[in-house]
């Protein structure tokens, strides 16, 4: 009797589990199919990531091309087209083993020749490659699936730059035949390894990608850009819609499933709409106040410190961004969660609102009461409203301010000059994989800060040390010193971090809010 019961129980269990698994499988099947319509804010000039610094290109072409290494959700470097890697000779040699079964869009298997050809092109013309090139020796093909990167001197950020999420710096693998055909010219025939392949591009209108049926996903678990990518959708259409309100109404009426960068102040309205979900990208932009370190009064560090004390950062947050869920105060260059985050950066000066101290410091710096010129863009909400709010706060404590708001090209032209401006507000990308490629600092007197003093040379020294240090712990200590130095000299400083808002239809499932939108692993219901 007992035996019979047990047997029937087992049979029941088997039947039950079969039933469940079949429904799960069926669900999995159901996910495939459909055309995804998205609305992006800017059109692009071409689709060759190596030939441009326009981050829109990589946002789209990430579906077509993949990197040797990619970042996962927590900004951990993960081999992607690479199977494994090894660092030898104290960081002078990187041996990389490739995955052997990866098929490209032309039907051939990806091998070392494709990687070598792509890498040489990247080194020569890509913005990221050009950072690496001065330290690099050569790339060697060991056999069909093994490559060796050799350096002349230790260059610690190498792998992080290979997978960099900063505008188009990432190294992606293209078919050798395409590189032979185009050389360093702009590529308009796209053969990669990604889950989607290029189908059609109508300039200023749309880019259409279709599923690559023979796609070979990475064996690792999917997480943001790294690991398994499943192309559920048949087709992805990227529409270029510059007007934010048009993108919004497109999603509201169901024409688009996804819209990039919509007005943050309409958040509540989207929230009330049952068909729309808000997608808040975690603060991936910084609002950076940059001083002209060459011109009085900001050729003196006390004057620069004074401005940090003179500003009420929280009030600035409300004025330049608005709803507090879209911004947070953050003194460090790298956000919380980033391995390079320094939690006590700027303590004692960041977020300390002390107008009296500001006045004392200005006096100490010998400020003569001349009007201070704020140079800022008028098209971007953060730049425009931030500059107006900073002017207001400085005027409240009796500092004379002249506001100069221009369109982007004029701002870029004017800030490149050594005189004519004192302060400049600019958005910086927060998600940087390596402290070395921090956007604001490229060396004494380079870029726009015109910072040239004893302090700036010390900063040069810190960066030179960071470049040679491969050990994380040691390197982190250098980053701490860099942060301390930055908050002492204050050639520029971060006011706050802020988020961007995208919206999507509820039909679009499994969407993850990455620093660049991506649509593998998502499906339509």
């Amino acid at each position: 009797m007992k035996k019979k019961l047990r047997l029937s129980l087992i049979v029941l269990l088997i039947v039950f589990s079969l039933l469940i698994s079949s429904t799960v499988l069926a669900q999995e099947e159901d996910r495939f199919g459909g055309t995804l319509n998205t609305a992006f804010q800017m059109s692009v000039a071409h689709l060759d990531t190596d030939n441009s610094t326009d981050s829109m290109i990589s946002a789209m072409m990430n579906h077509v091309y993949e990197g040797l290494f990619e970042f996962d959700e927590n900004l951990n470097l993960t081999p992607h087209l690479a199977a494994s890697y090894e660092i030898k000779e104290n960081g002078l040699v990187y041996d990389v083993k490739l995955r052997e079964d990866v098929r490209m869009h032309n039907g051939e298997l990806m091998d070392a020749d494709d990687v070598v050809a792509s890498f040489r092109r990247w080194l020569e013309i890509n913005n990221g490659g050009q950072l690496v090139a001065p330290h690099f020796d050569e790339i060697e093909k060991l056999d069909q699936y093994n490559i060796r990167f050799k350096f002349e001197e230790v260059y610690a950020p190498f792998l992080n730059i290979l997978a960099s999420p900063v505008s188009n710096q990432k190294f992606v693998v293209r078919a050798e035949e395409v590189i032979d055909e185009f050389g360093t010219d702009v590529i308009d025939r796209h053969v990669g390894t990604g889950p989607y392949k290029y189908e059609e591009w109508v300039p200023d209108q749309k880019l259409v990608l279709t599923r690559f049926e023979d796609y070979t996903p990475s064996p690792r678990e999917g997480s943001f850009f790294a690991g398994e990518r499943i192309p559920y959708l048949n087709k992805i259409v990227f529409n270029f819609i510059p007007d934010a309100q048009v993108r919004v109404s497109g999603v509201q009426t169901g024409q688009f499933h996804f819209a990039e960068e919509v007005p943050r102040d309409q958040y509540q309205i989207f929230k009330m709409d049952q068909n729309i979900k808000n997608v808040i990208i975690y603060p991936d932009r910084m609002s950076m106040l940059i001083f002209n370190n060459a011109e009085a009064p900001f050729d003196n560090k006390y004057a620069r410190q004074a401005i940090a004390y003179a500003l009420d950062f929280e009030e600035l947050g409300y004025a330049m961004i608005g709803d507090p869920q879209f911004w947070r105060l953050e003194s460090a260059l790298h956000e919380k969660g980033n391995p390079w985050h320094v939690s006590d950066a700027g303590s004692g000066i960041y977020g300390v609102y002390d107008p009296e101290k500001a006045k004392q410091l200005l006096e100490r710096a010998g400020y003569d009461g001349q009007p201070l010129v704020i140079l800022s863009g008028q098209d971007n909400q953060m730049e425009r409203q931030g500059a107006i709010a900073i002017q207001d706060q400085l005027e409240k404590i009796g500092i004379d301010v002249e506001l100069q708001l221009f369109d982007r090209p004029t701002v870029v032209e004017r800030r490149a000059k050594k005189e004519g401006w004192h302060m400049h507000l600019s958005p910086f990308i927060k998600v940087v994989p390596d402290p070395q490629i921090h956007q604001g600092w490229t060396g004494t007197n380079k870029w726009i800060t015109n910072w040239d003093s004893k302090d700036s040379r010390q900063m040069d020294q810190i960066f030179a040390e960071m470049l040679r240090e491969v050990d994380y712990e040691q390197r982190y200590k250098i980053v701490e010193r860099m942060q301390a130095e930055l908050w002492d000299s204050v050639p520029y400083f971060n006011i706050l971090d802020y988020s961007r808002l995208h919206i999507r239809r509820t039909e679009l499932k499994n969407f993850q809010a990455g620093w660049q939108p991506f649509f593998w692993n998502t499906y339509l219901e």
């Binding site: 102040d265 929280e314 947050g317 004025a319 909400q381 409203q385 107006i388 709010a389 506001l403 708001l405």
Partner: protein
């Protein structure tokens, strides 16, 4: 004065309404500091996008500034721009129009140049000039005056031409009056009515175009209040904070409408051809 006499006689309703509105608007802008405790440019961002309430009659904008206050000061800017543009166009247009009308020798050259200028819409000329000279109140005034004066010059020229051969001008000349005396004493005085009508329309147009230029970002520089710039700012917040766009929009409508009504009414009163229709 001719105008006042006629007004007493006919009591034109357009003019009555528009003058009442204009008096209200002008006193609002003149007495702005007395009517509000707020400063039009000082931020209070923690109080942003507040709906209309007792403290903020028309709500606050995205910097937490009081919209009622900004409208009063914005109106001030509009009126300043309008008056300055009218004065400048009358002076420029007057000089050019009189020279062209009174001296037929150079009439053709001047008029062809003005024709060429009038081939472009005024707002396009103003936008290009503002873009070249840069934004700012003074530049806007100059750009708009430059855009409007050809039309004024044309009107004054035709008035001069129709008057200068009349008998009383001939008799003045026969009595030995010189050109300047004839122009100021006999011609200009008698061509005042079309100039006044056109000046009123220019006033309205200047307010509207200042708003348009500020809306496009080449007008009054922020944070100084301007009705047009307030409408631009409000666009993003139209759905969440409709009071931001309604208030400056209404102000633009009121001021432009009342000036246009005034212009229409004045034309009715002063145009001899319309006398009969008025009497009915």
């Amino acid at each position: 004065m001719l105008f006042l006499k006629k007004y007493k006689k006919y009591e034109h309703s357009y003019i009555t309404t528009s003058i009442i509105i204009l008096i209200i608007l002008i006193s609002l802008s003149l007495f702005a500091p007395l009517l509000t405790d707020y400063n039009p440019v000082r931020n209070n961002a923690r109080n942003r996008l507040q709906p209309p309430s007792k403290e903020h009659l028309l709500g606050t904008d995205q910097y937490g500034r009081d919209i009622f206050t900004r409208i009063l000061y914005g109106l001030r800017t509009s009126i300043e721009v309008g008056i300055s543009v009218v004065i400048l166009t009358v002076i420029f247009g007057g000089v050019v129009g009189i020279v062209a009308g009174y001296y037929p020798q150079i009439d053709k050259i001047i008029m062809r140049v003005l024709d060429a200028m009038m081939a472009f819409p005024g707002i396009i000329i103003a936008i290009s000039l503002a873009a070249i000279w840069g934004a700012g109140k003074l530049n806007i005034i100059l750009a708009l005056s430059f855009a409007y004066f050809p039309k004024m010059a044309r009107i004054i020229r035709s008035a001069v031409i129709s008057i200068k051969d009349l008998d009383y001008v001939d008799s003045a000349r026969a009595a030995g009056a010189n050109d300047l005396r004839i122009i100021f004493k006999y011609i200009l005085k008698n061509s005042a009515s079309p100039i006044m009508v056109q000046a009123t329309f220019n006033f309205a147009l200047a307010i509207l175009d200042e708003a348009a230029l500020s809306f496009l970002g080449v007008g009054i520089m922020p944070p100084a209040p301007s009705l047009g710039a307030m409408v631009t700012d409000a666009r993003t917040y139209m759905v969440v904070a409709p009071w931001m766009i309604l208030a400056p929009g209404m102000m633009i409508i009121l001021s432009v409408l009342s000036l246009n009504l005034l212009g229409d009414g004045m034309r009715d009163l002063l145009d001899p051809h319309l006398k009969n229709t008025l009497k009915k």
